[in-house]
Amino acid sequence: MDELIRKGRTWKYGDNVDTDQIYPSKYMDIHEPAEAAKHLMEGVDLQFALEVRKGDFLVTGRNFGLGSIRGGIHLAFEHLKLGGIIAESFSRGFFRNCISEGIPVLECSEVCAKVDTGDLIEVNFSNGEIINHTKNEIIKGKKLPDFIIEKIISGGSIPLVKKIFASDLKGRRENG
């Protein structure tokens, strides 16, 4: 299996950042990824959506993403292509959500203590290791099972479904 390694700048936030802060409910009717991305993290930091770049990391405290299964977050992530999210802990729904979108996630109890906004980090999701290049320090997160890493590498649920149906179709053609 390929290793899942990403490198990027960080944006750090605190504990219990909920889905109403990540994506306020007033934007629930938006259906364009680029439009949705303009409102990501609006409840915590208005600068985030203006300055975030592809490959950036979110670093947060405990229980990140508690609250709703909010579709707009899925839409915004589709546009932003974050490098990944490292949290001291995740809310269950949000954690699964990320995996299903192919967004690398890692739990690391000391990430907030050891990483600051703007640090350049390199994360090996396959073994749970985080290198903080800015601070010249290595910290360890909680490694995920291989099958989940594979899911993330392949892009989550949608590429999987596409593959199933493409091979179904091929099978049907071949069987005449």
Partner: protein, 425 residues
């Protein structure tokens, strides 16, 4: 190892074992399980349709196992929502979806329960975090994302990590005007917002037998507010009575093994429980009502998937009968569903609420989500029977939301400030 010597399983373990074709599963184990049903609403649904089409799926796995119900922004609040609703209606037709409920039925979770589509032993991953409430009927309900719902619609199955189970042992009896909402707020206050993370939370003990289905739905609904994967109540006579006349489908009752293993047991004596209030802006910021009594309010809200049921509107009416709400207060009431709307209408509950000064809105999510009717302005304070008081949840970021039982909300609406409902007995 001798299989017989292993400890027993909880309901959550047993359902996941059953649905993944295994004799037993352990907490922490990963399984691939077949779902019995999935659901979506309008605000997730339009994005779900979009993602479904991108994935190039010709047909959904089973057109009888998908509930689609428009409930969040109903009737449409702007042209974009109207188009989103139409996109969903078109999809429902294309896919020949059997269980479609348009804007006139109510909150999708409750409609799914009331139509007899949730039965004991079922596995129901759905497109809403509050799917945990299906556990009130002994089913395993849990929230999943849009891409996962699409995967489920394509294949009928998903991966799961088997949760450990936490038991909330309830004993004693509730005082008058103290309700299941106060129980769940007490539990969340003790365990905190991440205290049941990834776990199944089972409500049991002698006192559960005395809690009706409305109350059980309230308990399981809010299990997710402490991070739980699902809430569960073991099926009993109340469950069977509720299902009578709602379904003619066969179902398999799953009960706990007598030697089932619990990760933690938390006991709550209901006889000493006081009305509870959760303070802004965190659900787990819970105090007894007397610690915040006197806080002035602008709006009171009774509704949502947590507390918009018949029992909820009825207890509010008991308080409001012959009284008027405070001159500076707005009381917004959203029955959870058409069934609740009709029953409260026929039994005179709505009349009492209307006479007291309440605004009755159509069944649906209403003011809880701060996107349609009952939106809060800057600096306003609301006491709400809903489930979340996050900053900005009901409108302005500068508004404050206190969560409480429908009884506490109704009493507060009368006085214009947060009030202990026990004085209204």
């Amino acid at each position: 190892m001798n299989e017989l010597k292993k400890k027993g399983m909880t309901i959550a373990q047993k359902i996941l074992a059953l649905k993944s074709g295994k004799r037993r599963v352990e907490a922490g184990e990963f399984v691939e399980a077949n779902a019995d049903l999935t659901i979506t609403n309008d605000t997730s649904g339009h994005l779900l349709v979009r993602t479904f089409r991108q994935a190039g799926i010709p047909r959904i796995w089973d057109s009888e196992k998908f509930v689609v119900c428009l409930d969040h922004l109903v009737p449409a609040n702007n042209p974009q929502t109207a188009s989103n609703h139409n996109l969903i209606r078109q999809f429902v037709q294309e896919q020949n979806i059997k269980h479609f409920f348009d804007i006139n039925e109510g909150i999708h979770l409750h409609v799914t329960v009331e139509k007899g589509l949730v039965r004991p032993g079922m596995l129901i991953p759905g497109n809403d975090s509050h799917c945990t409430m299906f556990g009130a009927l002994g089913a395993f309900g849990t929230g999943i994302s849009i891409p996962e719902t699409v995967e489920l619609l394509a294949t009928g199955k998903l991966w799961f990590k088997v949760p450990s189970t936490m038991k909330i042992d309830l004993f004693g009896s509730l005082s008058q005007m103290v309700t299941p909402k106060d129980i769940i707020l007490e539990v969340i206050g003790r365990l905190k917002a991440d205290g049941a993370m990834y776990k199944a939370v089972e409500f049991s003990g002698d006192a559960v037998k005395t809690i009706n289905m409305d109350g059980r739905l309230t308990l399981c609904n809010m299990a997710v507010e402490m991070g739980a994967k699902t809430g569960i109540v073991e099926p009993d006579e109340t469950t069977m009575d509720y299902l009578k006349g709602r379904t003619d489908q066969q179902f398999h009752i799953v009960k706990n093994d007598p030697d089932a293993v619990y990760e933690r047991i938390e006991s709550i004596d209901l006889s000493t429980l006081e009305p509870k209030v959760s303070l802004p802006h965190r659900v787990d910021n819970v105090v007894s009502v007397n610690e915040v009594k006197g806080v002035k309010i602008n709006q009171a809200f009774i509704g949502s998937c947590t507390n918009g049921l018949f029992s909820d509107l009825k207890i509010a009416a008991q308080i409001l009968q012959g009284r008027r709400i405070g001159a500076s207060v707005r009381l917004i009431v959203n029955p959870a569903s058409k069934e609740v709307y009709l029953k409260t209408l026929n039994e005179g509950v709505l009349e009492i609420l209307i006479e007291s000064g309440a605004v009755i809105c159509n069944p649906g999510c209403g003011a809880c989500i701060g996107a349609t009717k009952g939106v809060l302005g800057e600096g306003e304070v609301c006491i709400s029977s809903a489930n979340r008081n996050f900053r900005g949840r009901m409108g302005s970021d500068e508004a404050k939301v206190f969560l409480a039982s429908p009884a506490t909300v109704a009493a507060s609406a009368v006085t214009g400030e947060i009030t202990d409902p026990r004085g209204f007995v």
